[in-house]
């Protein structure tokens, strides 16, 4: 009886060994870095750099001070890479919303949403500073 069952036990042991090896794969696949985190960090960096570039000649502050929201939206579209959707809100020193229109390129959505804040000072003789809050997402 023992001799007859030896082969079956070996098969069960081998099966168990394979199960142990593959269970380690199953456990460790959950430890891989979530790609969303990296993407969000990249998006935030892209957003901050875009706002910095836009404000390098003071045009961001000028657009806000003059309330030219469509020009601001166009400028953001120009500096941001294609395939990104954005939604921007501008607040003054008292945290009151300044923009009277929605500043977006439409179709805002997607899973990876990054959030960027930028302190904007306009260059005009009358000093104003604003907080620009930009949300970015990969267009779905």
């Amino acid at each position: 009886m023992r001799r007859a069952n030896t082969g079956q036990i070996r098969v069960i042991e081998a099966f168990f060994a394979v199960l142990v090896v593959f269970s380690s794969f199953a456990v460790t696949t959950n430890l891989t870095v979530a790609p969303g985190k990296t993407k969000r960090a990249d998006l935030a960096s892209i957003g901050l750099q875009a706002l910095t570039e836009l404000d390098s000649d003071g045009s961001l502050g000028n657009c806000i001070a003059s309330g030219n929201w469509s020009a601001l939206s166009d400028a953001l579209n120009a500096v941001l890479p294609t395939g990104l959707s954005f939604n921007m809100t501008v607040y003054d020193e008292q945290s009151q919303q300044v923009n009277t229109e929605v500043i977006t390129n439409g179709g805002f959505g997607g899973q990876d949403v990054a959030f960027v804040e930028y302190a904007c000072a306009n260059r005009g003789p009358v000093f104003h500073c604003y907080i620009v809050r930009l949300r970015l997402a990969v267009a779905s």
């Binding site: 042991e13 794969f25 891989t32 935030a44 945290s95 005009g124 000093f127």
Partner: protein, 257 residues
């Protein structure tokens, strides 16, 4: 001995297989954990984000200083620089997405600068409007803290030189060159007004003076106009607003070559 080997070989080979499998599993797990740890360290985005934030704040500070100098040079109070920088520092404390920001500043006070501003418009052949302040910016991130010390200098300078050629009677044709600089780099003007001194009164030069202004495109403006003054010299003044709205003035005395 041979018997022991045979026994081990026949009875324990399955257990040995499981032990080997467990060892392989532990190796796979530890390797993956190690790789995961390494990857996590390189993908922590905060230091890069903080450096981006610092860059953006430095630019905003520069824009704020430009605004302040535009205010002061156009007749605003000299306290505008300190007031505006205080306003910006307050605003920066409201930035929260990467931690908290604190920016301290000191407007330059020395023999040339008063409360961070310098308006030198009465020197011969040149004029300077400048603002200077030192800043200490600290960003307290969730996992990192960064401090940067920097200075911002905004300067618009103008040089004016010229001569005149006598025409009929007391009429004189003045030719002058006005050069404009932003932080020592050639810059363009938003508007340029030329005045000449007529018996001690500054008179705006206009079309009636056959005024010509040639923009060379490199911050140099060739100016020509005709005046009727009896003196042997012609005092000329150039009032400039650069593209940033900063005002600066320069005077020169033109003589016949």
């Amino acid at each position: 001995m041979r018997l022991l080997r045979r026994r081990l070989g026949s009875n324990s080979s399955g257990q040995l297989l499981i032990v080997a499998a467990l060892t392989i599993a532990v190796l796979i797990s530890s390797t993956t954990m190690y790789v995961y740890d390494l990857t996590r360290e390189t993908t922590v985005a905060e230091p890069q984000s903080i450096s981006d934030l610092i860059m953006s704040i430095r630019q905003s500070t520069r824009n704020a200083l430009i605004s302040s100098l535009a205010n002061v040079s156009n007749g605003g109070p000299k306290t505008a620089i300190v007031a505006n920088m205080n306003g910006l520092s307050d605003l920066l404390r409201n930035l929260r997405h990467l931690g908290t920001c604190n920016q301290a500043f000191a407007a330059l006070n020395d023999s040339k600068y008063d409360s961070g501003s310098r308006l030198t418009w009465n020197e011969i052949d040149s004029g300077v409007s400048s603002a200077y302040a030192n800043f200490t910016l600290t960003v307290y991130g969730t996992t990192a803290r960064a401090t940067t010390i920097y200075a911002v200098n905004v300067t618009t300078a103008v040089t004016l030189k010229g001569f005149y050629s006598s025409l009929s009677g007391i009429q004189k044709r003045v030719n002058a060159t006005c050069k404009v600089y932003n932080e020592n780099s050639p810059a363009l003007v938003r508007n340029l007004r030329i005045y000449y001194s007529n018996a001690g009164n500054w008179t705006l030069v206009g079309a009636e003076n056959s005024l010509t202004v040639v923009n060379s495109g490199n911050g140099s403006y060739g100016i020509g106009f005709t005046v009727s003054v009896s003196s042997s010299t012609v005092d000329v003044s150039a009032s400039v607003h650069d593209l940033r709205g900063i005002f600066v003035k320069a005077n020169t005395t033109c003589v016949s070559p």
